[in-house]
Symmetry: C2
């Protein structure tokens, strides 16, 4: 496979990654609504830590656990903003 | 569904997201090897821009395009580090 072929494959994977992140965002929105109902805080550091632990546990490389967590830190950041925004 | 149920679903989605990001990283490694063979630079701003454009084009919400790109900026950052590292 040449670089062009790999990039085509990456674009296909990105379709799927974007779709999954969007589904995850819908779930985060649903949780945000439940938090509002129960007056629970949006920022829950224990839950965020447990997401990072989970992600590190299922990661099998080639990225280091710290690199996968680095990506997830940004993802969780964006999800937190979404939970605060949505009515 | 209560918060616990949603979090179980999110954990399952994260399994899949981590798996896909790992497959994407394998493809980036393969491209890194091809770049080394051809002495092409790792950093290719045009390709990175085209990834962002693609991601924004397939994004259907609930995240804003700029939020999805924000996640991808971190992802691409990590992939670039991987391409530089791997022999």
């Amino acid at each position: 496979m040449d670089i062009y072929d790999w990039r085509k494959k990456i674009d296909e994977m990105d379709d799927e990654i974007v779709r999954l992140i969007s589904r995850r965002a819908e779930a985060a929105k649903a949780i945000g609504a439940l938090k509002r109902e129960t007056l629970a805080p949006v920022y829950e550091p224990d839950r965020e830590q447990s997401v990072f632990n989970h992600v590190r546990a299922v990661n099998q490389g080639p990225l280091a656990d710290s690199e996968m967590q680095h990506i997830y830190e940004r993802l969780i950041d964006v999800m937190r903003t979404l939970q605060k925004r949505e009515p």
